[in-house]
Amino acid sequence: MKNKSKRTHEPLFHISKRTDVSLKTGIIIRIVAIILALIVCGIVTKIFTGDNPISIYKTIFDGAFGKGRTLVTIHEIAILLCVSLAVTPAFRMKFWNIGAEGQVLIGCLSTAMCMFYLGGKIPDGLLMLIMAIFAIVSGIIWGIIPAFFKAQWGTNETLFTLMMNYVAIQLIEYFLKIADKSGSNVVGPDLLTHGWFPTLFGTNYLLNILIVAVLTVVLYIYLKYSKHGYEISVVGESENTARYIGINVKKVIIRTMALSGAICGLAGLLLVGGASHSIDSNLADGRGFTAIMVSWLAKFNPFTMILTTLLIVFLERGADEVSSKFGLNSDFAQILTGIILFFIIGCEFFINYKINFNHKKRAQVKEEK
C-alpha cells in the first residue's frame, strides 16, 4: 500500500519557543552572529574583488571614526537616535508607525518655512522659538491623524502612516517651487539665512547632540517611571488587560502618537535649523525607516538604542568609504551592510527559539521496523 513508506517521514526537527533566555546566552548568540557575518563578508569580498578583507574592515572603521570624521559621525548618530526615540513609544504600544519619515519631513518643512518667511523680520531668538513650535506641532499633527483613525475606526496604521510620508514629500516639493523660482530641487542656506542654531564652544552640531542626549534620558524616564509609560506598556502587551483595568485605550493611542510625532518634528527642526540650513524632499534620507530597525534591535530601550544606532551609522558610513576608496561600486558596500544586518537580525530567531532534533524518536521508529 502507498501508506507503508509513511512510517519514515516523521519530521526531522521541530522548533520550540524558548521560555527563558539568560543574558549570557543572548550575548553569546549575538557575538557568534557578528563573527559569522564578518567571515561571510570576508569570503564574499575575496571572491568578488580579490581585495584583502582585513584592509576593507580597516577602511570601514576609518570611514566612521577616521580623522575629522568623528564629530560628523556622532551628529549622524544623534539625528538617527532622535528619530528612533520618536518611534519607540508607539512601538512599545504595538502601534506600527512607519511614518516617521513623513513626520520628520513635515517638521523640516515647517522649520524651513519659518526661516524663509520670517527670517530677518524678527529677532533670531524669537525666530528659533517659533521654528521649534511649528516643527513640533506639525509633527504632532502628522502623528495624530493616523492615530485618530486607528482609535476611532480601527484603520490599519501601517498603511496610513506610510501614505502620510508621500503627502509630506509632495508638500515639500510644492514649497521648493514657490521658494526657489529657478526650479532647483533644493532651497539652500543662501535663502534660509536666519534662524541657524548657535555653535557651542566653537563646535558645530554640539547643540543638536546635547538636545538628543537629554531627550534620551527624558524618554527613558518617561517610559519606565511615568504613569503614561506604564499605560503604554499595558496597552501594547494586552489590550484586554487595558480594558479590564479601565484604561482609555483610544486616548492612550492618540496621546502616544502625538508624542511620537512631536519628537519626529523635533528631529526635523534639528536637521534644518541645526545642521543643513537647507531643505529638499530627501532630507530625512530614509532615517524614518532605519529608525524602525534601530528601535527593534534595541528592544525599545532608549539606552540600548545608543548602541544600535552606533552600529548602523558605523556600517553605513564605513560602507560609503569602502566604495570610494577601493573604487568599488557603491552597491558593494551595501551588500556588506546587508550581510551583517542579516546575521544580526537573523540571530534574534535563535535567541527566541530553540531547534530540537528528534534523534530519539527517529531511532525508535527504526527499531520498530
Binding site: M1, K2, N3, K6, R7, H9, E10, P11, T19, D20, Y225, S226, K227, H228, Y230, S233, V234, E237, S238, N240, T241, R243, Y244, I245, G246
Partner: protein, 509 residues
Amino acid sequence: MNALELKNVTKKFGKVVANKNVNLTVKSGEILAVLGENGSGKTTLMNMIAGIYYPDEGEIFVNGNPVTIASPKDAFDLHIGMIHQHFKLVDIFTATENIVLGIKDKKRFNLKDAEKKVIEISSKYGFEIDPKKKIYEMSVSEKQTVEIVKVLYRGADILILDEPTAVLTPQETEKLFKVLKKMRDDGKSIIIITHKMHEVLSVSDRVTILRRGEYIDTVATAETNEAELTEMMVGKRVSLNIDRSEPKNPVDRLVVNHLNLKNSENVKILDDVSFTAKSGEILGIAGIAGSGQKELLESIAGLHTSAQGEITYIDPQNKEINLMEKTPVQIRELGVRLSFVPEDRLGMGLVGNMDIIDNMMLRSYKKGKSMFLDRQPPKKLAKSIIDELEVVTPSATTPVRRLSGGNVQKVLVGREIASSPTVLMAAYPVRGLDINSSYTIYNLLNEQKENGVAVIFVGEDLDVLLELCDRILVISSGTVSGIVDGRTATKEGVGLLMTKVKGAKENEE
C-alpha cells in the same frame, strides 16, 4: 471493517496528559459522536487524526491498515478531512476559490469546472451554497458549509466536525444534521464533537465518551439516555472535604435583572439573566464552557457596554448604585469595591511580560496626582502576597509569565483580594492548577466569604461546586436554567440543567 480505528492512543503536553489510552472506531456509513466536558481531550484526539498533533503512543488504522499521520496532508491522502471550530478561509476569495485552494493535481486548473463540481457536491447532499460568493459576505453557517464542501471536494470519506453547532442557530443546526445524515447514507464516516446532549441523541449512531483525557466507553445511541450519558461524562461524585460554613446574615449585595447581551454577530450570548448575589455566601455558576459565564462576569465588571438590563449594587449602608453602562474606572470611582479574577489570567488579569510589582499596580497605579509611578506600595503588596500565599518565584521582579500556573493565579487572586472587595468574582480560578494550589484558592474564597464578601465563583468541576458553594446558578446557552441549593443538589441534577435547552425554567431557591 472499520473505516478508522484508534488503539491506545496517548498524547502528553509536557506533564499534562491530554489523552490516555484512548480507543475509538468509526464504521463506514456511521455518525459517531464524541462526548466530553471541556478539557476532556476531544479536540486533541481529533487533531491527531487530522495530522495536526502526532501521538506519543498508540496506533491508528484506516480501513484496517496501520498508518502514520504526520501532517494534515497525510490525513488528506488518507481521505480524512477536519472541519475546525475556527474556520480557516481566505476572506476575499470566493467559495470556489477557497475550496480549490492548495489542490495539486496534474490537470490544468479551470475555475468553471471547479464551480460545476462544487454545485454537484452541494446538490448531492443538499447544501445551499453560492460558489461565486465571497467569504466576507457570508454568514457563519455559510462559511461552515464552505469548509465542509472543501473537504468533500478533496474526496474525504472520514469527516471530523469540531463542535460544529457552537456557532449555529437552532434552525441552522437542524439543516446541518440533515446534511450529515445524507452523507452518512452515502457511506461516509462522520465524527462529530459536541457536549450538547440533545444533539448527540438526535444525530449520532454511536457515542464515545471521554472524561479528563481518558476513554470511558462507547455506546449505541439508541440504547442509552440522557441521564446515563451525563453520568458517564461527569463521573461519580468524589468527596473533596472542602469546609463550608453557614453564611452569616446574608444580605443582597448585587442584583442582576433581565440582563441581555449580543455579540458582534448579533447572536444572543446572555438571554434574560436574573439573579442575586448575597454577602457572606459563595454563589457558584455552573455550565458548559462558553454558555455565557465569561460574558456575564464581564458585563458586571463593566467591560460590555452593549449589555442591556439592570445591574444594581447595594452597598453595606443599603445604598443602591446602578452599575449599568459604567466603565471599570467609573465603577471604582463610585466606591464599589468589586474585584474580578478573569478566566484569561495572563491575557486579561495580568500582563505576562511585566514583573510581579508592576502587575500589582494595575488596579492602583493611577492613585495620586504625580505624573510618576509610586512603586513602593505595590512593592510592599507584592512582598506580602509572595510571603502569605507562598508564591514560588525567583523574585518580585520576575515577569509573571515565567511563573507556573498556580503561582500566576495566586498573584492575581492575591491582588484582587488585597483591595478588600465587597464583591469578588472569579472565573475558573483553579483551571490548570494542581491540587494544592487549588485548595489554596478555595480557602481564599472561603475566607472572603467569612469576611462577608459576596463571592461569585464560575467553576467547571461539579464536585467542587457542590462542595464549595452555598447556591449554584446553572447557565445553559446564555439562559439561567436553574438556581439550586449547594447542600442538597446532586451532580446528576446539575448536569441535566447544564445541558437543558431553552424552555421551562425552574427558578427556585
